[in-house]
Amino acid sequence: MNQHASDVHGLAAPYALDALDPAERAQYAAHLAACEACRQDVADFRATAARLAASVAQAAPELMKERTLAAVDHVRQLPPRVHAAAPVPLRGVLRRKALPMALAASLAAAASFAGLAAWQHQEKQQLEQRARQSEQRLDAVSGVLAAPDARTVHGRAGNGALTSVVASDLRNRAVFTATGLPAPPAGRTYQLWLDHDGTMRPAGFIRQDGTVLLDGDAAGAAAVGLTLEPAGGSPQPTTAPLLLMALPA
């Protein structure tokens, strides 16, 4: 449990009332994935809020039903979301896999904020849109961490950074975490790679410390690599890897 735990727990009420800013909302959504007590609070508070909603019920405009029924003729229904048997609390996953404490804290808290700070100056509408996307990514991150087949590898990069990869074949995704990663030299960026049969495929970027969901198929990947590339990234590695972490089959 990190230092801010009690603060974060306290957000169940504003979360359930949709009263958080997008950034806080994303942070809290990440916390929820790991906190059973908060999930119960949110369920209770939402059920309570539903009563507040029911108490202001009023007849909907007459034509609305007709229009709605006509509209759904053209709306495809989403397939059910595939869930792990039971969401494993994040702390449990981390403990089981014996992730170092620093990384555990980083995963639990920093995950949500990778990239968020940079959004501060974006247009407000874009911000909300991106916060929603970030929530989806967080869903994916927690999905990997909670996957029954999640496996963790630790590494130490050439520049001293501690790294971990959590990968799930079931989810076909992998999550990368770095602690102590120095800022890249000017004009350079850290790029991640997934090794498929000896071919390094671009898997996204990491700015500095934090947690990212790797792009691309993780299932069947033999390793995760990290290189310094010219800003904007490269289609294939152009420098010796700072790190190559083999993923157990």
Binding site: L20, A43, F45, T48, A54, S55, A60, L69, Q77
Partner: protein, 225 residues
């Protein structure tokens, strides 16, 4: 929905932060009584859950029945937050279509159909209000919603227009600050920061009052999940 679903149903030990206002264990809720779902008053939660299973399979007739049960609540809460009727109709219709689209994502173990629908409706209403605000310069809009207007209007509506006796009675059981914190956020669509500004009250106090207020409401209305 973006919320990770609650795990198994066994109720976890009470949250440390909840301890102060925690509900008493194994005691009957003082005002536990059946409540109508939506405004029709005769669609029971179990029926709705059964309807959802049919809707999930693309059954339009079932959706029509689901619409009848939920549309008044959906429209009601959207109007409450959005205020403008034409816009509210647009939003409420989007919500109803979303219920159809997302039917297979509804998970009974995470809450009732009514809760699911009201969560989606409220979120959309708030999104509409906030994006409209962003477009019209949030600062200005904020000033326009200032203090007296938002505050008096909302509390007055809460006092006079609530359809449900029970909710009205339970809201009266809250302290003034608890009630305002909950209603300004939920009916007013304000963020808790805006609530704190509007009520000129420190943020941590608002957070606590909001939580305590919801806990009291939950217990007063006998909400169980």
């Amino acid at each position: 929905m973006d919320t990770p679903p609650p795990g198994g149903r066994p109720r976890p030990p009470l949250h440390p932060a909840a301890a102060a206002g925690a509900r008493p264990v194994n005691q009957p809720h003082p005002m536990n009584q059946p409540h109508p779902t939506g405004s029709s008053g005769h669609t029971r939660p179990a029926d709705l859950a059964a309807l959802m299973q049919q809707v999930e399979r693309g059954d339009k007739q079932a959706f029509s029945a689901l619409y009848d049960a939920l549309a008044p609540m959906v429209f009601g809460i959207v109007v409450k937050v959005v205020r403008d009727r034409a816009q509210s109709e647009e939003v409420a219709q989007e919500v109803m279509i979303d219920l159809w689209r997302q039917a297979a994502r509804y998970r009974p173990e995470a809450g009732s159909v009514t809760t699911w629908a009201s969560t989606i409706a409220h979120r959309r209403a708030v999104d509409r209000v906030r994006s409209a605000q962003a477009a019209a310069d949030r600062e200005q809009a904020q000033a326009a919603r200032e203090h007296h207007t938002a505050f008096d209007e909302v509390s007055e509506e809460v006092e006079t227009r609530l359809a449900s006796e029970q909710v009205r009675r339970c809201l009266r059981g809250l302290t003034e600050l608890q009630r305002q914190a909950v209603t300004l956020a939920y009916y007013g669509g304000l963020t808790y920061r805006e609530v704190a500004q509007t009520l000129r009250t420190p943020l941590p106090t608002i957070k606590t009052r909001m939580r305590d207020g919801l806990i009291r409401l939950r217990d007063c209305m006998g909400v169980t999940t």
